[in-house]
Subunit: 425 residues, 2 copies
């Protein structure tokens, strides 16, 4: 959706001092600064709409400090989530936030990323303890104070929270202190087909109300399920489906699965099947993670665009049913998958990139969906961010005083408007 807009120059700093010098230099000369991690964001966050210097942070890729007894780690911006988890393998800990891509962790901080584990482990907002930030003028800010990694604090304004989700518009994140979690002792996955979207969502609400500590609960509509069956050689029923995962001790898992099965059956589910061994489980979740490619394969040669609204869970059935009707009416091809425990879902739309009329229809559909979510007390973006394309929707979402306050924040930290210009606001 967002065409590549290259910067005038790309630099690869090796350390925070260089980042600081680069920022000060650019800022002094009025040159836009675009921070870059893996570039896997989907809302055009790294497009250089006004040119300028792209500061590529991938050469800073050290894991600086691991404190296993304190469940914390400090990473440089080039470290990706998979690299961190590989490093943690023998520590008994892991970092659970998992957007689709193997994104850089500081990029995930910048976009406020989440993924399939958020229902249990929270999003990036919940898992950042401290940030080292180079401000636009080159000054170095430690949002929770230099070298600090406590688990909670009531000391002053929450600067850490201000930079999580700021999409590179307030400063460059040069190190993040993240909260780690104990690696699950055992895991079980399950799939479950439903007669309707309502039944799948009702099951989700009931599972959460019953305090079953589900680690993942993902929704796939019939079209998405069909595509995953074909692409990943699964044999699931083509119907509204939940993919679930449970983390815990063997004994706890058995009880969680049993309770979930009871709840889903009560809501009319059929075909509850669970994957206990690692291979089966991996196959199932690989299929879920490959949903994007499965969707693309429905229409070879197409490009995908993913919507990202999030609503209160109880409003999911109506917006999902409406969305499927809108899809039909629009003549577009699309699948639906979502983090149903958070009320967040994606409609993956398949577009012929050479067809400008179809691109317009996709844009119109995505905007309509964003407004539907806003009308249901929701947000236009659960985890992808505002980037370039959702700035109008953001205004409608937060209202005039909210926008004024955000603009004041931007002007305060970036008075010359040079940090990743054209994004968010």
């Amino acid at each position: 959706m967002h065409r590549c807009q290259p910067p005038d120059a790309v630099v690869w700093p090796q350390n925070v001092e260089q980042v600081s010098q680069l920022a000060a230099l650019c800022y002094g000369h009025g040159v836009p600064i675009i921070p870059f991690g893996t570039g896997t964001g989907v809302e055009g966050g790294v497009c250089a709409v006004q040119g300028g210097v792209c500061i590529n942070l991938t050469h800073m890729d050290r894991i600086l400090e691991l404190n296993p007894d304190d469940f914390s780690v400090v990473v440089e911006p080039g470290v990706t989530r998979k690299a961190l988890n590989a490093h943690l393998r023998d520590s008994g800990l892991w970092f659970p936030v998992d957007p689709g891509a193997d994104a850089s962790l500081c990029g995930m901080v910048a976009t406020g990323a989440s993924g399939t584990n958020a229902v249990h482990y929270g999003t990036m907002r919940d898992n950042v303890l401290n940030l080292e930030v180079v401000l636009p003028d080159g000054r170095l800010l430690h949002t929770a104070g230099p070298g600090r990694y406590f688990r909670k604090s009531a000391a002053g304004y929450n600067l850490t929270g201000l930079f999580v989700g700021s999409e590179g518009t307030l400063g460059l994140i040069t190190a993040a202190t993240l909260r780690l979690h104990p690696a699950p002792e055992a895991m079980v996955a399950a799939t479950c087909a439903f007669p309707s979207i309502q039944a799948a969502v009702d099951s989700t609400v009931h599972i959460l109300q019953a305090a079953v500590p589900v680690a993942r609960i993902e929704f796939l509509d019939d079209v998405m399920m069909d595509a995953c069956n074909r692409y990943s050689k699964l044999n699931c029923r083509v119907a509204p489906t939940l993919f679930l995962e449970f983390h815990g001790s063997e004994q706890a898992l058995a009880e969680q699965v049993q309770r979930t099965e009871e709840i889903t059956q009560h809501n009319g589910a059929s075909h509850f099947s669970w994957a206990k061994n690692a291979e089966e489980r991996s196959r199932l979740w690989a299929a879920r993670h490959n949903a994007w490619y499965a969707a693309l394969s429905l229409r070879p040669g197409s490009k995908g665009y993913s919507t990202d609204v999030c609503v209160p869970i109880s409003r999911l059935p109506e917006i999902l049913v409406q969305t499927k009707e809108d899809l039909k009416a629009s003549g577009l091809t699309g699948t639906i998958t979502g983090h149903v425990g958070d009320g967040n879902f994606h409609c993956i739309l398949l577009v012929d990139p050479e067809d400008p009329e179809e691109l317009l229809r996709v844009k119109a559909f995505a905007e309509q969906l964003g407004r539907r979510a806003l009308a249901l007390h929701g947000t236009c973006t659960g985890e992808h961010g505002i980037g370039l394309g959702k700035r109008q929707l953001l205004q409608e979402e937060v209202g005039a005083v909210g926008m004024e306050t955000m603009r004041q924040l931007k002007a305060m930290l970036d008075p010359r408007g040079l940090m990743n210009p054209g994004k968010v606001l």
Copy 2:
């Protein structure tokens, strides 16, 4: 520690429009504004150090909207945590954040409160979905947008997070949308005595590493335990002690308790006893919640002052041991209790309010403890806030650039410096 400094006037607005008019009026006339909930904060947050108008929000005490399927509720600022939980009793939901006092929920937002359940359910920072805020000039801000109560979002800057913990210095919170949790199906409490502080903390780390989903894990030093025995007629061994609570299904609880018992025994614990029936459990936790009064009873006629540092968990043993030595050296009487799963602990110091020399010794002790925590990568306040007395420590904690950024934020939202002046910064 903070002497009462009364305002020039107190007003009791009945609704948000009146709050907005009052704020605009005061701001226009250069009169300081002090928001007031239950006044149960312990860092002097409601002292009117420059006089002005105290806006008492307790008459706005309605629960405006409960959405059980979405795990959310909207409360006015006069609603206390106990009133909310009484209201929720038949809903199957509860709000778990529990500072000692029956504080107002919006006051808890303002101070970034937490309590004994934070290790499992998070602090206020993790449980606020949206805030209605009257800005100093009277404008009305909805931090996540008007009427929104989604579970997650990546839309723009995190304004909600900015106001949680702002201690009334950025605006008046006139409504909060809170995240609710399923009420536990069953609960078990346990107590456990240890040969040393190190053994109690090691057990805590091992319990968390084993992913036992402990709901509460509280530390009491020998002096505190002794005081609780006397005051609450308990019969626990006088030793470093953990109070624990587990929430879940009967079956899950049995396993959690068994694992915990194994871990604590491995660390040399004796006297592991668990309270399964509601009465025993309540008696135990009532004793914990009355720890403050138990401490005061050690020295009749004294007043208490509670320190509030928080460090990485692994650093707890050394700071606890040092603190006990400092206590002895200072000649002060004090007990120690803490939310050990978060690394946060309180030293309750008993002071003769008529003895200015002793008050100075308490201040010096508290400051030394704050600096010890800072030296161990910690914070000077885990949950009580900065208020009047910790402004110097905040500067040492966040550093020059952090302070500049906080001051810019204050100047941005409160350019005339009239919102709860003299606090935080």
